[in-house]
């Protein structure tokens, strides 16, 4: 399939279709893409021959923008990449600057960061389950998941002042201390989640229609997942044990007890189950920390103007979608010389053609839905 060929010229691209083939466009404005993703699909009957993603409808060149922003400012732009795990994006950038400065982060800030990251992960997975079930024709789960998600958003709003683009992480810690009611509200959320999540599982997990539409659909083997650079729940559902929180622990994850959720089937249902199990693990992490937030500073002392030494710095974190890498090339100034965001969605999307090829077009929504694509994260 990936044999060596010469560079494609326009006359090769404009090859006429073979008889019986049909080209359809999904997107850029399509309810199931949840954003502006444009897929050009070549069909033969109902069977998918080829999927070609066309990106860039929400490309803002965040990498180029970051080059003209200081090390304090560029963090806030990254909330707009993967807006469902804004906290974790900010964390990756803050950690990269801290690595360059060789700055120690206070214990209190580390714990706050983990709790916030895990709440974000739950909120992101909740939204995904609702939206994906809706793509497959089940409308009710959407209301169930948004009930929990709204609770998290309210907690975030109280402490960070925003519901989606939190901008709470700064180099050296977090921007301000927790709201006095934070601990009590998170605890009540944990109780609420535990009692209500079974409702969701009854609705979706054991639903015969849902199972028929996802089991065995969009299979991705372990070797392919690695070769396509898939990370996060997509890779873990194929048996790749690449959770950054376990493999390269950061911010204090090494002190916590949690499982890396793996599955071997690699199909859409496995990706669903992995995310459900991850939510339980996130709750487990929050329970370990919420009564043990250490006292002390929430931010390390830093200079007003941050300069990084000449060199290259790379950090990676596990967002709700997979491995986010931040690669900073510094020339010693107050702004980065070059920044690359290795976004998880970009690599996960590249596997879509491989996964959907040969299946029916009706199955595409299950495959694409369980990849959990967030388009601003892909386009950057």
């Amino acid at each position: 399939m990936y044999s060596e060929t010469t560079i494609v010229t326009p006359d090769v691209l404009q090859q006429p279709l073979q008889e019986g083939q049909l080209v359809i466009n999904v997107g850029p404005q399509h309810p199931a893409t949840h954003g502006v993703l444009h897929l050009v699909i070549t069909l033969e009957g109902e069977t998918i021959i080829k999927i070609e993603p066309h990106l860039g409808y929400i490309h803002r060149s965040i990498e180029k923008m970051s080059e003209s922003l200081t090390y304090r400012q560029f963090i806030y732009v990254t909330s707009r990449m993967d807006y469902l795990s804004a906290h974790i994006n900010n964390l990756a950038c803050a950690m990269c600057v801290e690595k360059g400065m060789q700055l120690e982060v206070p214990d209190r800030a580390q714990v706050i960061r983990i709790i916030m990251s895990e709440l974000t992960r739950i909120a992101s997975h909740e939204l995904w389950i609702g939206a994906m079930a809706m793509d497959l024709g089940a409308f009710t789960p959407f209301f169930y998941t948004f009930r929990e998600r709204e609770t998290i958003n309210d907690i975030m709003e109280q402490t960070c002042g925003a519901r989606l683009t939190m901008n709470y992480m700064v180099p050296g810690g977090v921007m301000y201390d927790l709201h006095p009611e934070f601990v009590a509200r998170v605890k009540s959320f944990v109780v609420q989640f535990k009692s209500k999540v079974s409702e969701l599982e009854d609705l979706v997990t054991d639903n015969i229609i849902f199972r028929n539409r996802t089991v065995g659909v969009g299979v991705l083997s372990k070797a392919d997942a690695i070769s396509y650079g898939c990370t996060g729940p997509v890779a873990r559902a194929s048996g790749v044990d690449g959770d950054i929180r376990k493999r390269f622990p950061y911010s204090g994850y090494e002190k916590l007890q949690f499982e890396q959720c793996l599955d071997s089937a690699g199909d859409s249902f496995a990706r669903y189950i992995v995310r459900i199990r991850e939510m339980y693990q996130s709750i487990h992490i929050i329970e370990q920390l919420i009564d043990a937030i250490p006292e002390g500073e929430f931010q390390a002392k830093t200079k007003a103007v941050i300069k990084l030494p000449k060199g290259e710095f790379y950090t990676r974190v596990e967002t709700a979608r997979g491995e986010l890498g931040v690669y900073i090339v510094s020339e010693g100034g107050t702004t980065p010389y070059r920044i690359k965001y290795r976004s998880p969605g970009f690599s996960n999307l590249s596997a879509l053609n491989h996964m959907a090829k040969g299946s029916k077009i009706g199955d595409l929504m299950a495959t694409m839905g369980t990849l959990d694509l967030v388009i601003p994260d892909i386009d950057r």
């Binding site: 990936y2 060149s61 923008m65 070769s227 396509y228 690449g242 710095f313 690359k340 290795r342 590249s350």
Partner: protein, 149 residues
């Protein structure tokens, strides 16, 4: 991971390789024309099966392609760098070795103008088809929406 072992390995594989230390991982600079052979060997001999980051940096005098490689079993990580001529940046594709390179190389192609020979589908991915210039290069000037750096 032992840096010395890696250095010996890469020196034997590529006599022209130069090394850069001090960062988190060993950085190996290799000539562009030998990159494909090296790529074919490292994936089998050292099990670097996960290409997790491909990017390009414009240093004004030259372009540098940066490949971050990791072995999923061993967690051994190495950074491969290739210096390219800024006027005619050409390097062989590795999208047949690591499939993830297909999209990442297309991005480097449109943003920096690097030509990947042998790439199965080298077209613009993010930018519109009629876009002129390479926006991530340092000397790029957009006549309409210019943000002065």
């Amino acid at each position: 991971m032992d840096t010395e072992v890696l250095k010996t390995y890469f020196s034997a594989l590529e006599p022209l390789a130069t090394f850069e230390e001090g960062g988190e991982w060993l950085m190996v600079q290799v000539p562009a024309e030998n990159w494909k052979n090296i790529a074919r060997k490292v994936i089998t001999e050292r099990n670097y099966d996960f290409l997790f980051c491909v990017t390009c940096v414009d240093f004004k005098t030259h372009l540098t392609m940066v490949y971050h490689l990791r072995g999923m079993q061993t967690d051994e990580t190495v950074v491969i760098k290739i210096q390219l001529n800024r006027d005619q940046p050409v390097v062989e594709t590795v999208s047949d070795i690591w499939r993830t390179a297909e999209f990442h190389e297309r991005e480097a192609y449109e943003m920096f103008g690097v030509q990947f020979t042998g790439h199965p589908d080298l077209r613009k991915l993010i930018l519109p088809d009629d876009f002129e210039g390479f926006p991530m290069r340092k000397d790029f000037e957009d006549p309409i929406n210019m943000i002065k750096l």
